[in-house]
Amino acid sequence: MTRADWLLIVVVAGCLPLLYARFWQPAGPANWLEVQAGDGPARVIALSPDRQLDITGPLGDSRIEISGGKARFLSSPCRNKTCIHAGWLDHTGELAACLPNRISIQLLGRHPRFDAMNF
């Protein structure tokens, strides 16, 4: 082994953690909740402290609950309650929407696992 070989081993070993961090990012926790009513601008709010928000849409108020870093539709004036049945959002990138009341919520964080959800 030459000095160059040893140096090569040291440099490659040193780069491994950096490459790991770059390519193997686990989903980071969600930090914020993006709330959008209609086609208006989105509001980005912190996921703490725990609280409830009333967001007004064309049918009335949808109530959003934030608790323990998660968020969900707690109530909504739509008929089918699909938004409420979506349950808690707890991963970065997850989204729920009340289409009739035109309100959507999505969890945001630094390292979303996915760029989009298919369903």
Partner: protein, 346 residues
């Protein structure tokens, strides 16, 4: 020698990720086609972002109005003309839309049937919010089935369209979203955008990449909260899922969903969801519906006829049916379910 090695390693590190580039993903959302449209752009400059957002929303809103299945619009006018049974000259964009739907319907053996609008209406699914509480009268279903509307009833003669079956009524609910996404991607590409996702209520087409990696897509679990599986898309690919959880009502403890089997007149009963990956979104959209109707026993045959190469079907017992090519691309994010592999599709 030593200097050369060190320089090469430093360059390799910089190129492969020791440096963290900015990840400028621009997102915008709007409502159209009865759902939430989500646009993601990677690497577009601010002018492109603004132009793409505005142009896409305008295009989708126009298509929403034109192609609506039960509100007044150009599709409704076309349905009226077809029901009259007399030849008429359709506008080029409507003709292209209907011809694309007809071609896919014929490929699917009629399992994707865009002409059963009357049946969909009878079930009460021609509404933004489902208000029906009971299934339709079986006699009414049988009467509509006996009329047997199909894409083959609509023919083009000397540039004029005519229906040979007055029961034909187009409902493009299983196709328009995909066709619209394709038009949207063409629009983005015409604006010089190379890396984007258009996601219409969970069905999407992606072009390009997210920087130095492919776009990553999570497939939501059809029966519980969270993600069932994930895939990475190639540089121009769509992923569509049809499920029994999207639009439905429940009566006497039974779920009646919106994917109607054109052969029986009732919601297809063997499938919970079907996920299809294909280059163009219109084909993926129609195929997801056709394969849902085909169910666990017939899906491979229909997929072959439609030229589909990647399918994941979940049956009502929770068993995952896949072809080997799909299995090689899917990564389960939960406990791996029971998987039944089909023979290769191609």
């Amino acid at each position: 020698m030593l200097r050369g090695i060190v320089s090469a390693l430093l360059v390799a590190c910089l190129l492969s990720g020791c440096g963290r580039p900015d990840e400028p993903v621009f997102r915008d959302r709007f409502y159209a086609l009865g759902t939430l449209i989500d646009l993601s752009l990677y690497g577009a400059n601010p002018e492109q972002q603004l132009e793409a957002s505005e142009a896409l929303a305008l295009t989708f809103n126009t298509m929403h109005t034109d192609w609506h299945a039960w509100e007044a619009g150009r599709l409704a006018q076309t349905n009226t003309l077809l029901a009259g049974g007399r030849p008429f000259r359709p506008e080029a964009d409507i003709l292209a839309l209907l011809q694309a739907a007809n071609r896919l319907s014929l490929q699917s053996g009629g399992l994707f049937n865009p002409t059963i609008g009357k049946l969909i209406d009878l079930w009460g699914f021609h509404a933004d919010e489902i208000t029906v509480l009971t299934p339709p009268d079986p006699t009414a279903i049988q009467e509509l089935l006996a009329l047997a509307p199909s894409a083959a009833d609509v023919v083009l003669e000397d540039g004029q369209l005519v229906s040979r079956n007055p029961a034909v009524q187009y409902d493009l609910g299983a196709f328009a979203k995909g066709y619209a996404i394709d038009r949207g991607i063409e629009l983005l590409q015409s604006l010089g955008i190379a890396h984007a996702i258009i996601n219409a209520g969970g069905d999407l087409r992606a072009i390009g990449r997210h920087g130095d990696r492919p776009w990553r897509i999570g497939i939501r679990h059809p029966r519980q909260a969270g993600v069932l599986a994930s895939v990475e898309l190639s540089e121009d690919e769509s992923i569509f899922t049809s499920g029994d959880y999207e639009r439905f009502f429940e009566a006497s403890g039974q779920r009646y969903h919106h994917i109607i089997d054109p052969r029986t007149g009732y919601p297809a009963g063997q499938t919970v969801s079907v996920t299809v990956m294909h280059r163009d979104a219109a084909t993926a959209d129609a195929a997801a519906t056709a394969l849902f109707v085909a169910g666990p026993d017939e899906w491979t045959e229909v997929a072959r006829r439609m030229g589909i190469r990647y399918v994941m079907l979940i049956d009502r017992d929770g068993v995952v049916h896949m072809n080997p090519a799909m299995q090689s691309r899917v990564r389960f994010e939960t406990d791996t379910p029971e998987v039944r592999l089909s023979k290769p599709l191609s």
